[in-house]
């Protein structure tokens, strides 16, 4: 396969941006149509990658090489990368244009292109600065998808920062009452983390002495533990700000709530995954000893995220803030799974990243339609919404039930796998699982309270505007997400087939 499919995935949105730039700002229909067709094309290309991805390949090549050369199994993670494109970019310092996809990045790639498409469909009725909005959405998609494909540190870093600027403008132009403050806070906080990460990357580059920024090549050197610990801390700060983890999370409630709904979906659905993806893609293969060293603190931070997010979500009066904190809480599970460093823990983490993206998209989108119809985000004023908006309330209830971890729906499986992973983990204490339990209970409580208020309580006072049912456009957005939740809840094998081999081969490095 010589077609540069991954490059097209990244470059198509930029092509779309150029097209939109050529269209007059008054032709809003045309602009929307161009962005829709571009995101559609990106999604189709991703589907092509998914269908042509050989998920057995990594296992097979690995076992083959076991017979020939036992050494290369542990170090050569190149084999699991597919659709690789690798060109020299800046020669004298060893920066490459290096893209590839494996079982870990593939679900995230799929998630990103799906959410990118749905967000464009969802924003179809936008009427304020349409041209700029869709340009920013497309730029955001390029950055988000590029990050999951980049296999070169500098390329990774460029995409990492790429997303910040479009997101800044999305928040600061289309955001809520405190949009400027929230946008700048988001930008400065995450940028602060990422420059520290850059120093860590430079440190690894110079310590490796390979004159290459390739993530896969640097993964082959074994750094001494003290260096690993230093690099880990530098990278950790970058990732923790992005996820965000507990002490670094203060930008989150502002940014998530002030952002326009498309921005919130991108922030929680895709951008938050960049941090956890970084842990798996970079920390796990390159700094395994440091991960082992810091596993317990990392796990505790994850648990703090779970419990703290749940406690604060309990206290929220605003539906959007509640969802924002529930997202914070759920990201804790993913960190916990990574800290566990076992096959099921990591499977749970990657699956969790995918599932969380879908669920948070469903939560944000459905609640935004509700609040649009009811003209408020206040949970108290939303009481009894289901009498007016039965199908919408049903969707929100469905999303909330998934998010609280109801068995049979997708989120249950990854949370269960994470906890199993902690239990199996050789370096984490099993007491940690007990600490998670309050978080789980609180999650159930605040989501159930929400469900009760929306569905069972009597109709409160409040405004009401728009159709009672869903428009076709809204159905188009919600149905794919709900179908994915249902399928993965009942039968997660299709996606685990991709994740499991990649995770297993990755873990062989760590355990060694």
């Amino acid at each position: 396969m010589n077609l540069p499919i991954l490059s097209s995935i990244i470059l198509l949105p930029i092509f779309g941006v150029i097209l939109i730039l050529l269209i007059s700002g008054r032709k809003e229909k045309e602009i929307k149509f161009v962005s829709l067709s571009i995101t559609c094309a990106v999604f189709l290309l991703t589907l092509f990658v998914v269908t042509n991805f050989d998920y057995r390949k990594s296992v097979l090549t690995d076992s083959k090489s076991v017979l020939t050369d036992s050494k290369s199994v542990l170090t050569d993670s190149n084999t699991s990368m597919q659709f690789v494109e690798r060109y020299t970019w800046i020669k004298n310092v060893g920066i490459e244009y290096h893209l590839g996809v494996d079982g870990i990045s593939l679900p995230l790639l799929f998630l990103g292109s799906l959410l990118g498409l749905l967000v464009v469909v969802f924003s179809w009725n936008l009427a304020y600065r349409v041209k700029a909005f869709f340009i920013l959405l497309l730029l955001l998609e390029t950055g988000a998808l590029g990050l999951f494909l980049a296999l070169d540190f500098i390329l990774f870093y460029i995409f990492w920062e790429w997303v910040l600027v479009p997101m800044y403008f999305l928040i600061s132009i289309w955001g809520g009452p405190r949009k400027e403050y929230a946008a700048l806070k988001f930008l400065l906080y995450t940028l602060f983390g990422s420059v520290i990460m850059l120093i860590g990357i430079l440190g690894m580059y110079f310590s490796a002495r390979l004159n290459t920024f390739s993530i896969l090549d640097i993964a082959r050197c074994k750094f001494p533990l003290n260096l690993q610990a230093l690099f880990f801390l530098a990278l950790f700060i970058g990732f923790a700000f992005k996820v965000p983890l507990f002490p670094f999370h203060t930008w989150l409630p502002d940014a998530y709530t002030e952002a326009p709904i498309a921005g919130s979906v991108f922030l929680a659905g895709i951008l938050a995954k960049m941090g956890t993806y970084g842990f798996i893609r970079i920390v796990l293969p390159i700094l395994p000893d440091a991960l082992r060293l810091f596993a317990t603190p990392l796990a505790i931070l994850g648990i703090v995220n779970i419990v703290y997010g749940a406690i604060v979500a309990m206290a929220q009066k605003d539906l959007k803030r509640l969802i924002a904190y529930s997202s914070l809480s759920h990201m804790g599970y993913i960190i916990l799974g990574i800290a566990a460093g076992t096959v099921s823990g990591l499977n749970g983490a990657v699956l969790g990243m995918f599932n969380h993206g879908i669920i948070i998209g469903l939560l944000f989108l459905s609640s935004s339609v509700i609040s649009e119809r009811r003209q408020t985000w206040e949970i108290k004023e939303l009481e009894g919404t289901s009498f007016w908006l039965p199908s919408l309330s049903g969707i929100l209830t469905f999303a909330a039930l998934t998010a609280l971890g109801l068995p049979g729906l997708s989120n249950f499986i990854n949370e269960f796998m994470v906890l199993l992973g902690v239990f199996q983990s050789t370096w984490l204490s099993k007491i940690l699982i007990i600490l998670v339990i309050p978080g789980m209970i609180l999650t159930i409580i605040y989501f159930l309270r929400l469900i009760i208020r929306i569905n069972l309580l009597q109709l409160g006072q409040g405004n009401y505007k728009g159709p009672g049912g869903l428009t076709l456009r809204e159905w188009i957005v919600f149905i794919p997400l709900m179908v994915i939740v249902l399928i993965l809840g009942l039968y997660p094998a299709p996606i685990l087939n991709f994740i499991n081999p990649a995770v297993t081969s990755l873990l062989e490095i760590v355990v060694k």
């Binding site: 970019w89 800046i90 020669k91 004298n92 310092v93 969802f122 924003s123 009725n125 936008l126 009427a127 304020y128 600065r129 500098i154 870093y157 460029i158 920062e161 790429w162 910040l164 600027v165 800044y168 403008f169 600061s172 132009i173 289309w174 955001g175 809520g176 009452p177 400027e180 946008a183 700048l184 930008l187 400065l188 940028l191 602060f192 420059v195 520290i196 850059l198 120093i199 430079l202 440190g203 580059y205 110079f206 002030e258 326009p260 709904i261 498309a262 935004s368 609040s371 649009e372 003209q375 408020t376 985000w377 206040e378």
Partner: protein, 506 residues
């Protein structure tokens, strides 16, 4: 060296000669045109002539770089460093002339302005090749003296006059101190040629050389605007006409860094450890103080003055590390910085009818949508956000620091870059805010109405006329935009040029 029938030795100074001839011709035009004849057309012709001179000089300089031609080290030395540094100076000249055209359209001092600017450019040109204490001093004065007049060009503005006087006194103080330092060196060695002096200084007593080095650092610190020699500079930047400020933030800086490279790597090389430490301290101080004070400014030009001090700090990282990679990265960063910085000044000029405060940028997006977008690019490049040129500059610079074990300096540098974003984004926020009827909007929003995707229905339609700008300013903006995007995506050729420039260190 002979190529064909041409004796290249006499052609070495062709770029300089071109600019000198252009300047002299402009001067003659001014003398022979009486005030009545001096129509708008005449001025435009002058601008075109100046641009043509600079472009011809640029083309010749590029040819020389390809030839890799190097002359002997006499009073002036044409070596790799000179060949490289001609490019930033010529680009500075080109861009400053382009952004000046609109600003000075109604001014009575147009002719004088262009001639003084060109004189200063000639001075900078000779600074980069000067290889002798005397020629260094004379060239530096030729670079500086016109700038004192330029800073006070806006005679009706008391701020401009005040700033010019301060700038003059400070500049003279710097020059004189440096000259005093030079006098020690001459007294010790009996020569003014840098190479001969370097050979003799190895054997001599150290305290006196160290003293003279301190004087030189003081003098050059003022030229490059490093903290703690920055006092009163922002006054001059604020008062001067904006194109002059643009030139002041780049031209003297190139000159200062060129002299530092020449002097410190030859005659002061026995003190390398000492001056590396001094430059590291200056670097940290300039970055931090520059950024902190920039955050407090309300005037855009003053803010950019402090931002330029902060950028001096980043550039000094190269001298603090002082190996080949770091020095070439410094030159590369200088090249990248001048584009983004002049681009920002171009936009400030575009907005100069509204005023120079940050609030005056409100609604800029509605007046000049294209300029607003480019301004975002320029500011992001200055702050070092990928994938723009400024990021590549900082990447090279800070990776050189990390490689040589100056990780702490790199950490201070990157944190300062993040910090700088907070004041660059003050401008961006203003540009994209809606200028009119915002009061109603916020009142409405205070009731926490739903701010979802449909929020945009409450659109505000301010009727702001789009102003027209001559092609000059737009050309400058487009050039800068293309350069910073191109260097950001493909920095290798420029980085290689900068690396070759450092090979003058034998």
């Amino acid at each position: 060296m002979k190529i064909g029938i041409f004796d290249l030795d006499s052609f070495v100074y062709l770029p300089e000669i071109t600019v000198v001839i252009t300047t002299l011709y402009l001067l003659l035009r001014m003398v022979f045109f009486s005030k009545e004849e001096e129509s708008f057309q005449g001025i435009t012709t002058s601008i075109y002539l100046g641009l043509i001179g600079l472009i011809v000089s640029l083309v010749i300089s590029l040819q020389f770089i390809n030839l890799g031609f190097v002359s002997l080290q006499r009073i002036f030395s044409i070596d790799e460093l000179t060949l490289f540094l001609r490019l930033p100076i010529l680009f500075t000249g080109l861009l400053v002339v382009l952004i000046s055209a609109d600003f000075f359209q109604q001014s009575r001092y147009q002719n004088e302005y262009y001639i003084l600017l060109f004189l200063s450019l000639i001075g900078t040109f000779f600074v980069i090749s000067a290889n002798d204490l005397v020629s260094i001093y004379i060239a530096l004065e030729l670079c500086s003296i016109p700038t004192y007049i330029l800073a006070g060009l806006d005679r009706n503005n008391p701020k401009s006059t005040e700033g010019a006087v301060k700038y003059f006194l400070l500049g003279i103080l710097g020059s004189v101190t440096m000259l005093y330092g030079f006098s020690f060196l001459y007294g010790l060695t009996g020569t003014t040629n840098l190479q001969e002096m370097a050979k003799k200084l190895f054997l001599l007593e150290q305290p006196l050389i160290f003293l003279s080095m301190s004087f030189v650092i003081f003098g050059l610190g003022i030229k490059i605007a490093a903290v703690p020699f920055h006092f009163r500079l922002p006054d001059a930047y604020e008062g001067a006409p904006t194109p002059v400020t643009a030139y002041l933030s780049v031209g003297p800086k190139i000159a200062g860094f060129a002299i530092i490279l020449r002097i410190f790597l030859t005659i002061f090389s026995p003190f390398k450890l000492q001056w590396m430490t001094i430059f590291a301290l200056l670097s940290v101080a300039s970055m931090t103080v520059g950024n902190l004070l920039a955050l407090m400014q309300q005037n855009v030009k003053r803010m950019l003055a402090y931002s330029s001090i902060a950028h001096t700090g980043y550039l000094l990282v190269g001298l603090a590390v002082a190996d080949r990679l770091a020095l070439s990265s410094m030159l590369f960063y200088l090249f990248v910085y001048l584009f983004a910085n002049l681009g920002v000044f171009a936009i400030v000029i575009a907005n100069s009818k509204e005023g120079e405060l940050i609030e005056d940028f409100a609604g800029f997006n509605q007046r000049f949508p294209f300029f607003a977008v480019t301004m975002v690019f320029f500011l992001l490049s200055l702050a070092g956000v990928p994938p723009l040129a400024g990021f590549m500059g900082k990447l090279y610079l800070f990776s050189a620091a990390v490689r040589s074990g100056y990780t702490w300096l790199a950490v201070v540098g990157v944190l300062n870059s993040v910090f700088s974003l907070s004041y660059y984004f003050k401008i961006i926020q203003q540009m994209y805010s809606v200028k009119t009827e915002t009061a109603n909007l916020t009142l409405d929003e205070k009731s926490r109405a739903p701010y979802n995707s449909l929020r945009g229905l409450r659109e505000v339609n301010p009727t702001v006329k789009k102003s027209y700008f001559s092609p000059f300013l737009t050309t400058a903006v487009v050039i800068v935009l293309l350069v910073i995007i191109f260097i950001g995506l493909y920095p290798s050729p420029f980085a290689n040029l900068a690396q070759e420039a450092i090979t003058f260190l034998k």
